[in-house]
């Protein structure tokens, strides 16, 4: 092994440190200022949890948060189911009719500008005469996030050793049983990661939700966006801190769980 060549140079360390500082500093500042006692976001007036209390008394904001939470749970669950099925078909189904179209439809939404996806889904809902609100946003989010789930699960499936499945079948399992007994348990960490990714993406989405929601059913990002347009408010800092905290807890739990569940000590990266 070329240890000498693999050695880190000062340049490597600086690039890494600066890069990580750039990624984290704004978030840290946002969190610190959410505990600011002053109404002026820029003046530091001591620590306080005032803005958190303010948020918990803000009916409209709480409604939006509850709406986002429900949309997130339902759409992430549906997306995980559909995305996992898609990943299994793509990585284990060999060739089938319409495969190219299928994988194309699954990869396109990953990069498709959200304004296009949002607009096209809205026009579909209008044509179907669907009442816009919880269900239309949920369906829209399911469509977007199942593609991310499919990618995450498919990456895991391609990395799995297929001889395990084949061994199970040699030992007399039919394919479905071999899948359930052998493949599925090995896929579970990636399925869990897929669910969480779908949930956070749904919780985060502003553009598609704006297009597909109806009057009176704003999601949290829609409410935050309309507040942010009016300027910085400490209450928004508090909400953002709560969201960041929630997501951090979920990610840490997930990475610990995947570390425990992977027997070989390999880390199942979320993406």
């Amino acid at each position: 092994m070329a240890h000498g060549l693999k050695k880190l140079s000062a340049f490597n360390i600086t690039a890494l440190a600066l890069g990580l500082a750039f990624l984290y500093l704004p978030i840290v500042i946002l969190v610190i200022y959410s505990f600011n006692a002053s109404r002026l976001v820029t003046v530091w007036a001591g620590w306080s949890t005032r803005w958190y209390r303010e948020f918990f008394n803000d009916r409209a904001m709480l409604d939006a948060a509850w709406m986002s939470f429900r949309v997130g749970v339902v759409s992430a669950t549906a997306a995980t189911l559909l995305g996992t099925l898609a990943a299994v078909a793509l990585s284990r189904g060999e060739r089938f009719k319409g495969r190219t179209l299928f994988s194309g439809m699954l990869y396109a939404p990953l990069v498709m500008p959200e304004v296009i996806t949002g607009l096209s889904l809205l026009l579909l809902f209008v044509a179907l005469n669907a009442e816009r609100g919880f269900w239309t946003v949920t369906v829209a989010h399911t469509t977007l996030t199942m593609c991310f789930v499919a990618t995450v699960v498919q990456a895991r499936l391609s990395a799995l050793d297929r001889s395990l499945e084949e061994a199970a079948m040699d030992l007399g399992c039919d394919p479905v049983r071999a899948f359930i007994a052998v493949t599925l348990p090995l896929m579970l960490p990636s399925i869990a990661a897929g669910w969480m990714l779908a949930f956070t993406l749904s919780l985060d989405d502003l553009v598609i939700a704006s297009f597909t929601t109806g009057p009176g059913s704003a999601t949290l990002p829609i409410r935050i966006y309309s507040e942010v347009r009016l300027g910085v408010k400490p209450e928004i800092n508090a909400i953002c801190t709560l969201i960041i905290g929630g997501i951090a807890v979920v990610i840490i739990t997930a990475s610990l769980a995947s570390r425990l569940s992977s027997a070989r000590g390999e880390t199942a990266a979320p993406l």
Binding site: A89, E94, P109
Partner: protein, 340 residues
């Protein structure tokens, strides 16, 4: 680590050229008796194919079919009605009515897009912004990914986690975090004033620099991760060989490392470029209001002007513009996930 295969798996050209070179994994497996292995795969494939039915139908209905509606409404006219466009297709009215409605479709909206400077400039600005920000992202992201790939193995997964976590936290929150810093009496101006670098507060918000900063900040993980993925797979023996043959470190980098990382560069560039062209939130919150990107124009037409047909036409043109990069991306993605 298997390093670089001889068929040029990590080279960009096969991706652009056509079908990905498939690795013959099952037949290579010496532990299995050849005939048996192949048949097991085939048997397994049959029920696996059935798994495609539900997601296939879902994507057809909620992804492909909606584009038909976008196309149809882009050919319609605005009307003060619910929904706000004519003609409406009513299949119960019989064939004659449908024919009459078909005759009402026109290309007027597209003519408007071409003739009105507002739209042409929006498209141009979007592409220019996307090109510049993608270039900045590559220049910043490459050294970071390179540094990550050179960390000791157990630190690599930690570094990767650290890069991914901001990607999981809300997009909107990250933009909002920058508004906190960049506003008139925000932390940046305070720091600059305290250090006597500037004598009066600088306007940061509502400028193009703020927008570029926001874009680079939000998309950085999308650039780093594919770059890191290719750089981490690279066989260090190649660099050793280069140095044995007398190449300097920088020469080895430009002759060996960089060309081999091109697929990662391609994936990162496309993963950033395509969505940035249609970006709405970042320019809306951070850039000034004097010139708009096409995502903002579409949003304005739809939500403020309630002109659904023009918004749809804008989307159709945007989609056509992005078709080529999206096809290349699709090919890259397929190689990544299916050719293993």
């Amino acid at each position: 680590m298997r390093g670089v295969s001889k068929d040029g798996r990590w080279h960009l050209w096969p991706i652009l050229r056509g079908s990905p070179p498939r690795r013959r994994a099952p037949q290579d497996d010496v532990r299995c008796w050849k005939g048996k292995t192949v048949s097991a795969r085939r048997i397994f494939a049959r029920p696996a194919r059935f798994a495609a039915i539900a997601p296939y139908l879902w994507m057809l209905l909620f992804f492909l079919v909606p584009f038909g509606f976008v196309l149809k409404i882009s050919l319609s006219q605005t009307a003060i009605a619910q929904p706000p466009y004519v003609p409406q297709f009513d299949l119960t009215q019989g064939w004659a009515a449908i024919q009459a409605a078909l005759a009402e479709l026109s290309l007027d909206n597209f003519k408007l897009l071409i003739s009105d400077n507002l739209y042409v400039l929006s498209y141009l600005r979007s592409v220019v912004v996307a090109v510049i920000s993608t270039a900045i992202l590559l220049v910043i992201g490459y050294p970071i990914a390179y540094g990550m790939a050179r960390l000791p193995r157990r630190w690599q997964s930690v570094a990767m986690m650290l890069v991914i976590v901001p990607f999981w936290t809300s997009f909107l929150i990250r933009i909002y975090a920058w508004i906190n810093i960049l506003q008139h009496d925000g932390l940046l101006n305070k720091t600059l004033l305290a250090l006597h670098i500037v004598s009066a507060p600088v306007v940061w918000l509502s400028t193009d620099s703020a927008m570029y900063l926001g874009i680079v900040y939000s998309y950085l993980p999308f650039m780093i991760l594919p770059l890191y993925a290719t750089l981490a797979k690279m066989d260090p023996a190649l660099l050793e060989a280069a140095s044995d043959l007398g190449a300097s470190r920088s020469k080895a980098f430009w002759l060996v490392t960089f060309p081999l990382s091109l697929p990662g560069v391609g994936a990162g560039v496309l993963l950033c470029f395509i969505p940035i062209v249609g970006e709405f939130v970042i320019p809306d919150l951070l850039a000034g209001s004097d010139s708009m990107m096409i995502g903002q124009t579409l949003w304005l037409e739809f939500f403020t002007n309630k002109d659904w047909p023009v918004a749809s036409a804008t989307a159709v043109v945007l989609l056509v513009l992005l078709l080529a990069p999206m096809l290349i991306y699709d090919r890259l993605q397929r190689r990544q996930l299916e050719a293993r």
